[in-house]
Symmetry: C2
Subunit: 327 residues, 2 copies
Amino acid sequence: MATQQIGFDPQAFRAALGTFTTGVTIITSQGEDGAPVGITANSFNSVSLNPPLVLWSLSKQARSLPVFSNGKHWNVHVLSIEQEKLSSRFATQGEDKFAEVELDNGISDAPLLQDCTARFQCRTAFQYEGGDHVIFVGEVLAFDHSDRAPLAFQSGQYALATRKPRSELRLATTPPPPECSYTEDLLGYLLGRSHYQVLNLLRQLLSNQQLDEQAFFVLAVLSIRDNLSLDELNTFVSYTGHVVTLAGMRFLERQGLVAIEGNAAQLRFVLTANGRELSLQQVALAKVVEEDLIGKLGEADAQALKVLLKRLIVVSDPGLPDLWAPR
Amino acid sequence: MATQQIGFDPQAFRAALGTFTTGVTIITSQGEDGAPVGITANSFNSVSLNPPLVLWSLSKQARSLPVFSNGKHWNVHVLSIEQEKLSSRFATQGEDKFAEVELDNGISDAPLLQDCTARFQCRTAFQYEGGDHVIFVGEVLAFDHSDRAPLAFQSGQYALATRKPRSELRLATTPPPPECSYTEDLLGYLLGRSHYQVLNLLRQLLSNQQLDEQAFFVLAVLSIRDNLSLDELNTFVSYTGHVVTLAGMRFLERQGLVAIEGNAAQLRFVLTANGRELSLQQVALAKVVEEDLIGKLGEADAQALKVLLKRLIVVSDPGLPDLWAPR
C-alpha cells in the first residue's frame, strides 16, 4: 500500500476514490427557457436531518451548470436496479435525455422521474466552492420512497448490494461444535443443499409426469440440440453426474417422447412432437419455481446470485461443451 | 410512492436517505492534547480532481467536533469487508477506539489505520454550514489504495457489492435462439451447473479413494451425528437425492469405514476410526477446492455468494432436519 503523492497520477486518484461504493442518482432541474436538464451523479449524500439537507457536486465544466446555479429547485432521484439504462442515458452528453420519459407532477417545475427507489425534491440552500466542482446543498421540501431495490456503483461499474444480515444467518438452530470440520459455511454444502432443494421443488411439480430427473435433462438437451448420438448426448449431460444409457433412451421412446433414428452402429435421438411439448411444459414448471423463489429473494438478490453463480461457473469450468453453439 | 411533506416523519426521511448505497469510512484526527479521535462516517464523497478535494459531514453534536474544527489534518479510511468490526467500534461512543489498533506513519499527526481499501490524507480546505452538521472539505495531500474489497452500507445494514460485468456475462459462446425456452439464465440451470462443476472438482480429488459421492455424504453425516439407523441416515441424506441402502452400508463396513451395531430389527451405524479419518481427509479436500475457488472469485464475491445461497436455502426450505441440533 505505497502512499502516492498527489499531482502525479490522476488516474490512480480516481481509482482510489472509486473504491468508495455509492448509489446512483439522476438530478434534474428546469432552465429559465423551460427546457429540462438532468445528469447522472453519484456524488450525492445526506447532510442534515433537521433542517433536512442533502448535497451533491457538479463539475464547473457541465453544460447544465448555469441552470442549476440560477435555478432554485432540483430533484434527486435515487435509481433502482431497473434504471441502469436511464442512468447511462443521463450520463451521456447530447442525447435527448427526456425523450419518452414519463414524468410525475412535483412541487416545482423540475422534472420528477418515475419508478425510482427514492426521490428528494429540493430547493438550493447553499452553493459552495469545491475546486473544479460546485457543491450544491439543498433543503428537502418533499420526498418519497418505494420498495424498489437501489442500484449501486463501485470502481466504475454498476453493482448490486447484498445486505448482510445483522446477525449471522444460521441454517441450523445450533452451531456445530468447534471440533466439527463440516460446517454449513462450506460453499460445497451451500451449493449442494440449495441446488437439491430447488430441484426438489421442481420434482414435486414434475412428479405427476412419471419421469425422473435424468429424463428431464435428456429432454432439455434435445430441445436445445436435437438429433444427437448417445455419446453426444452424454457430453452435454455428463456434468450432471448422470450417464444416459440406450436402455434409458428406449424407455423414452416407448413413452413416445423420443424417436430413434439411424442404424445400429450410429443411433441418433430426436424429440417427438410430444417430447418437445413435454419439455416445454417442464421448462414452464421450472420457471414457476424460479419466479416464486425470485419473489421471495427479491429482484436485487436474485440478480446478484445469478451474476455470482455465473462467475463461479467460469472459475470452476472444466471446459463444458457449448450447448447453444451453432454446428 | 406517496410524496411525504417534510417535518412529519424523520424516520421515513432517514429510511429514504438510507436507500442511497454508500461505502463506509473511518475519519481520524488528533486533538491538540495529542489524543486521537476517530468516527465512522458514510457521508464521504469525492468533490474535485484538480485540486483534489473530498468531503464529509459531521454532526454538530459530535464530541469530536472541536478536534476536527480546530485541527488542520484528518485522514479518511475507506474500509474493507474485513473491517466491519472496526467500523462498529468507531461508530460507538465511549469505547477506547484505538486500543490495540496498529497505525502507520502518515504525513501528519492524524492516526493512519492499516489494512484499508483506500486512504486519503487531507488538510481542511473549507468548513461549510450544513444544518445540524458541518461539511468538511479537505484537500487530499496523499492517498493510497489496496486491492482489498470495500465494505458497503445500505438501508442501515452492511452490504457486499457485487459488481456487474460491463457486458453481460455469457457462459455459452452463442446466445440461444429467441424461441428457445431453456436459457442459461435459469436459476435452476446455474445452480445445477455450478454445483455439479464444484462437485466434479472434488470428485477428481476424491477419485483415488475408490468411494462414490454417496459414501462421501454418508461419512459426512456420520462424522457430524454418529450412531444412526438407516432411516435416520436417510433423513439427513435424502435432500441430496441419494437413497442409502443396507447393501451400501455393508460395503462401507467391508471397507472398514463403518461398524454396524445392534440387532437386525434396529441396526445402527457408527464411524470407525478409519472412517472418521477418511471423512476428515475428505473435508480437507473439499476445503482445498473451496479455497481455490474463493481465491478465484475474490473474498467479497465469495461472501456475497454464501449469504445469497443461505437466503435461497431459507426460502426454498422444505423443512430439512437440523443435522447439527443436539439430541
